[in-house]
Subunit: 329 residues, 2 copies
Amino acid sequence: MSAPVSGGDRLSAVRAGMAADGIDALVLRPSPDFRFLGGRGDGFLVVTMDGAAETADPRPYLPPGVRRVGVDPEMRVRELFGLAVDAELVPAAQVLAPLRLRKEPYEVAMVERAALAADSVLACAPELSWFGATERAMATRLRVLALEAGCEEVLSVRVTAGPGTAAPGSAPSDRVINPGDALLVSLSARWDGYCAEVARVFAVAEPPEDYDAVYSVVVAARHAGMAAARPGVPAAAVAAAVAQAVDDSGYGRFAAPGAGRGVGLGSDEGPRLRADDDTPLEAGMVLCLEPAIYVPDLFGARVADIVACTESGPRPLTTAPSSLPVLER
Amino acid sequence: MSAPVSGGDRLSAVRAGMAADGIDALVLRPSPDFRFLGGRGDGFLVVTMDGAAETADPRPYLPPGVRRVGVDPEMRVRELFGLAVDAELVPAAQVLAPLRLRKEPYEVAMVERAALAADSVLACAPELSWFGATERAMATRLRVLALEAGCEEVLSVRVTAGPGTAAPGSAPSDRVINPGDALLVSLSARWDGYCAEVARVFAVAEPPEDYDAVYSVVVAARHAGMAAARPGVPAAAVAAAVAQAVDDSGYGRFAAPGAGRGVGLGSDEGPRLRADDDTPLEAGMVLCLEPAIYVPDLFGARVADIVACTESGPRPLTTAPSSLPVLER
């Protein structure tokens, strides 16, 4: 089992990856990869086989005759045009993504801090005035609470009420939140570089019919996925455990695809908790488990929790309540 | 004098620009250009000579044999790689930037709304508790106030105190704000698509020596630049008026380069208020005027205000106070 790539070793591990892929230089911008390699400012980070520089203008740092450059996937096209380099451009992620799979202990602690901050904001939900407010207004309220809780950046806030909860990914609208609504809330935030997402489900005053049951299935699926997240098993096994739990309940045809993904410096990184990802789980990986059931035109339920893989098994960093929380007027 | 490009005419004006530049397709992402052409969602907008589509996957919409594609400068490199198109890629801005110079009346009203929101937040400054707070904490406070004021997005908040005010562009730090400090505060925000930036200068309890005088020069320079912003004169003339006012005061060698830029769907667009921009000003242009003086190791003063060019002359949308505001304990 490989050790996570720690501070001083990162550059040498990156150069080994560059050599293997025939990449002469990496050009990174403020992004998870940039931060992973110690980038601190708002310029470019250029890594070559014999140097590394943070600079406002990467061009002088590219070796003469450079043939292949790994560029930051988060770089803007205008910055790429600004490079004006005559070389093959490939995604830097092919070198960096494998090195970022396993986290050092301090990195796990940082994700945990982000997760706890996000969770603490959602834990305030019962104290807020939801009735008659719009999704958009409540999303802004949660965004403000997250900033006040000390989050460095709020990556996304989703508030969806009523039948809209069955349409995953919809942005907060001007729909008013009413008694009897299902309510889906998620918050993705960054804390000193590291990301976490937490999603919670509520009922407003009174749950819609069958919503309690669907919530229980999602929580059971989360539990099954968490239990499966052990070193040595493939990422796909976690997805399978989640899918099995939903299938067993009879809600299988309404299950969301996949069961989550890794989190760290990026809010969406490897491994993928999907049937097609056979990456073996290792101690030091941190996952966002997010089982969901979407019943068209009725409602959806999704919880997202963070779990760290350790040698001795999964360690949950957040945990959704086991029974459906009901928001009282 | 050209009319601003209005809703229905935009696509035809864009196609004329594409034809002139030999561009077969534009691929845009959520960005000012995207919004200018009516993009509403979070996918791609593809414009060809005979169609326009908003889509999650632009590839099927690219004409066969496409030779030259204008790509959104705000697009991410990972999205560009995802296109996997064998064509020459050029910045879409070469077609769109000229069309976005002049605003329609409703667009001027939207920038004004953003400017008033930003200004109203900075107008709250005297009521906040600055003494002993950090730059970072106050920046967060202002960010929250801007969201609560209804801004769709806060693009940047700068709070700098003491000698750091002489280093333009520095991010808010953990430095504590003390009596006797110069204080520079700026807020850039978006309101329903349109952007504005407002910057204000304060003294904490008591101005540093000569700070009053420097503030007066910056305000006079802002006034001179505003007065110069008339249809028919080149953008460079506004920069010249600002530079002249600072030179006349004897602070010329401490003047920041340039006097500002256009604002609209982008927070930083044409024309450039610089000596090298001879774009003629036209009614419908909206400018952010931002004269500044930075005296190394001592202090800096910068105000930013928004002005609309109209047939009958400049119309200020915001106005910094004419005398230096002093924040009392």
